[in-house]
Symmetry: C2
């Protein structure tokens, strides 16, 4: 991982939804790309903020009191402890940053395994 | 800072070079946008990795043994302790992530003040 990362190339290499790929690591965090479509589960992370930067497409991040809609070049950080549910009507490509090993559902029992790109 | 961040809008709001603007914070890190042109100083950060994602333009990150050239959608993380010098022939717009308060030159005496966008 000591070379540059082209995000579009990393995204071209897989097609599964809701399966983040780690492309780099920084200060104990995984930098990941993910493709998502349809709705995820409601969840929260008690110990970490949750970084979303949309690269392509449109993502709704539902919060209990409102929805934040992100297009390309827009980012939102869900504060730790805040319940949220990502929803994508069409496929969306996202850059995610979370501490290494954070379960994507907020719960290790139901989380997708973290994979390398 | 609890709403979505449009990176292009944040970048439109200023024109200075080498003066990062904090647009969001995550797990003790500042998420920043910056415009750069020409060469910066050689420096290193002993305590933190240094995250660069190019949004527009082309950035050379000179290392002592090679140069990493980034275009839009390409990222590179300079590992902590590694000397580097960013160089941009033309203006480049970058997303940076560093722990809050990290001096951009690696030295508090010469660092640009951290500003909010």
């Amino acid at each position: 991982m000591d070379d540059k990362i082209n995000l579009a190339e990393k995204l071209k290499a897989f097609s599964e939804h809701w399966s983040p790929r780690t492309v780099a690591q920084m200060n104990g965090h995984d930098v990941m790309v993910v493709k998502v479509k349809r709705e995820f589960v409601w969840h929260k992370h008690d110990d970490t903020d949750d970084f979303f930067l949309v690269l392509n497409g449109r993502l709704d991040i539902e919060l209990r009191d409102r929805t934040v809609t992100l297009g390309p070049g827009e980012l939102f950080i869900v504060p730790k402890g805040v319940e949220h549910r990502p929803v994508a009507k069409e496929e969306v490509e996202i850059l995610l940053i979370e501490p290494m090993g954070t379960p994507n559902t907020g719960d290790k029992k139901t989380a997708a395994p973290r994979k390398l790109a």
